[in-house]
Symmetry: C2
Subunit: 240 residues, 2 copies
């Protein structure tokens, strides 16, 4: 059975302007690979209602799980929850259980649950909450879309809350062999290995270090024994 598929949707002008470098995609990619869920696509869009709605619609149709990052805080530029609700044509309003979580949190810290903070309790109808052990304000899952915060510590915690609830596949195993030769010298033998081991994926990732070219050859697959055979062949062709 093929592995479940996923897509990541990063929401935020700060990524597109180059102000902030997205860290959440790389984290999620590693977690999904371990879980045997294939990340098929990533999109980054701006804090724009239409752009978010269009991306949620397209991705939620294309893959089994969509993970979003960003735009669920209390400020005026946090429009993700409303956009996701619109994508699924659902009403959205402050929900009692989410409000209670926030109320208890701000009571503990002696802060006021003001109108801005209360926006973080706006949840589309029919969604389930995603636990946020870092800063309380919950994410939510609606249909196959998991809506999470952009702050990396909170995003990572929410990923940890969601992942155990998903059915995983066979984890993708991967082995890397570093070769101190340019890709042009590797291409032909690599193509032969790729053809022989069609059930595995053979990738070549060139690098340049101290003026010399080299390549990391990565073989991926779900069958550890096959991976071993292919790696042995590779090391035979390109000894250390």
């Amino acid at each position: 059975m093929p592995n479940p598929t996923a897509a990541m949707l990063v929401i935020g002008d700060e990524i597109l302007s180059g102000r902030t470098r997205d860290a959440n995609t790389h984290h999620l990619a590693g977690v999904l690979t371990e879980r045997g869920i294939d990340l098929k696509e990533v999109r980054v869009v701006s804090d724009d209602h239409g752009a978010i709605v269009a991306a949620v619609k397209a991705l939620s149709k294309a893959v089994d799980h969509v993970f979003t990052s960003g735009g669920i805080g209390p400020t005026h530029d946090d429009i993700t929850a409303d956009a996701v609700a619109a994508a699924f044509d659902r009403p959205i309003d402050v929900r009692d259980d989410a409000r209670a979580l926030l109320q208890a949190h701000y009571d503990r810290s002696g802060q006021e649950l003001n109108a801005a903070r209360l926006r973080m309790a706006r949840i589309p109808e029919g969604a389930t909450l995603i636990d946020n052990p870092v800063s309380t304000a919950p994410g939510f899952t609606i249909e196959n879309v998991h809506v999470m915060a952009g702050v990396p510590s909170v995003f990572n915690a929410m990923v940890q809350s969601v992942i155990p609830t998903l059915t995983g596949g066979a984890p993708m195993l991967s082995e890397t062999w570093r070769v101190q030769r340019g890709e042009g010298d590797l291409a032909e033998p690599l193509a032969l290995i790729a053809a022989e081991f069609a059930d595995l994926s053979v990738g070549s990732y060139p690098f340049q270090k101290d003026g010399r070219y080299g390549s990391n050859i990565v073989i991926r697959g779900q069958d550890a024994a096959r991976l071993d055979v292919a790696m042995a062949k590779l090391k035979d062709i390109f000894p250390a």
Copy 2:
């Protein structure tokens, strides 16, 4: 006149598997912002012909310039050039000027221009070459799509070759003000500033440091004087 728009398309299984963290998007985002070209969307897709073709078609229609990264080397998994040619329904073959560049390069280094390396001279009909001062093998521009290498040093050099050929807009200016208070306390005054300065964009980016919440407030716009007025107002409301 609104600024020209752009999209970035990153091609590579190694990003989606979490093996490699993409660095090229962040670099391009900063360069485009300086040049006054608005990066509207980023997509990451796998080394899959259909996925690349679909993304090139969608993005090249949606924005003024598409920049791609990855998949133009000599190995079997480098399929970007063929996919981009297919997206525009153009034939692709080894081109004499690209072959001459490679021939001279490998002659200098005493290496053979073998069949694998010659694949890097495959250029879709009607494209113009993008200079690669780092490792010679050229990128190319076809229609509004700029096809570049994935290795960051080569990608950055190609970006530097392409950017001066593009018409820029008014550079986006940005000022940041760091406030040691949670977003929930900032939201209302920020929304007022955002409403008053509708020609600017006001963003709030929360962080957590040493157990305390704070937020970087970023105001962006093309009019330096307006930006100054808005920043003065902001600092008035939230003194250092």
